[in-house]
Symmetry: C2
Subunit: 117 residues, 2 copies
DNA sequence: GGCATGATATAGTCAGTCTACACAACATTC
DNA sequence: GAATGTTGTGTAGACTGACTATATCATGCC
């Protein structure tokens, strides 16, 4: 019986975005994707395997990425994922949705101090 | 039987933050809180009542806000909410959590282009 | 009476992240 | 050859919280 989950570190939906972005320069496998996200976020974002793999399967099912087995740099079998053309488009769309959302929330948190109530 | 929900506009957890922030200058009622969020976000964020009221009850149950009945500017009965001292602290904490998260995601989306892999 | 508006509320659905485990393959070491 | 560590993938189950849809009530107005 799994214990009490503390509330999610990551906001729902952003993980897909981070994974797709990580795959933009080229193919990669799950473990390395998680590592890359952790490192580029300066250890702020830690993607656990219980979030990572369901997300990868989800993205593959939707056709944003495709996968094939290969060997990792360490010589272990690993599943390499790659952005599909559709995934590339989707990434661009999700990215601007994120920018818009972050900006909107920023507006509420720090309003532009217009006059007129 | 409720229909198919399109995916959430808002990311999980952010609504609480927006509500608390809206109450920072002073007390307000639900309808007006939603209106304020919509306006200050330039209509990007639309909080529906099915999200709003559960969130208000949740925040009240946690002790971040308290409530009393009164009359709105329009002469209708309305439930006015006010930040508690604990809520004020919680807002500050949530706010910096949001800033950190947004920054972390920004780092992954637009890495700082350091040399070295 | 009928209708629009302001305001609060709840039921039920669903997506997605979390914790906690499990497991396979290989290398190293004793 | 047994134990151990590392790399890598995976699943089960719980939980949170936002969504759609709908209901209710009061007031003002024609």
């Amino acid at each position: 019986m799994p214990g009490r989950p503390s509330r999610p570190e990551l906001l729902q939906g952003t993980l897909d975005l981070l994974i797709l972005r990580t795959l933009l320069p080229g193919r990669n496998h799950g473990h390395a994707i998680a590592r890359h996200i952790r490192r580029t976020s300066e250890d702020l974002l830690q993607v656990e395997s219980g979030s990572l793999y369901p997300a990868l399967h989800r993205l593959e099912a939707k056709g944003w990425i495709d996968a094939s087995w290969d060997l990792s740099e360490m010589g272990k079998r690993a599943r390499y994922y790659r952005l599909t053309p559709a995934g590339r488009k989707h990434l661009a769309a999700e990215r601007s949705k994120w920018e818009a959302l972050a900006r909107a929330i920023g507006l509420v948190l720090n309003p532009a101090e217009q006059e007129g109530q």
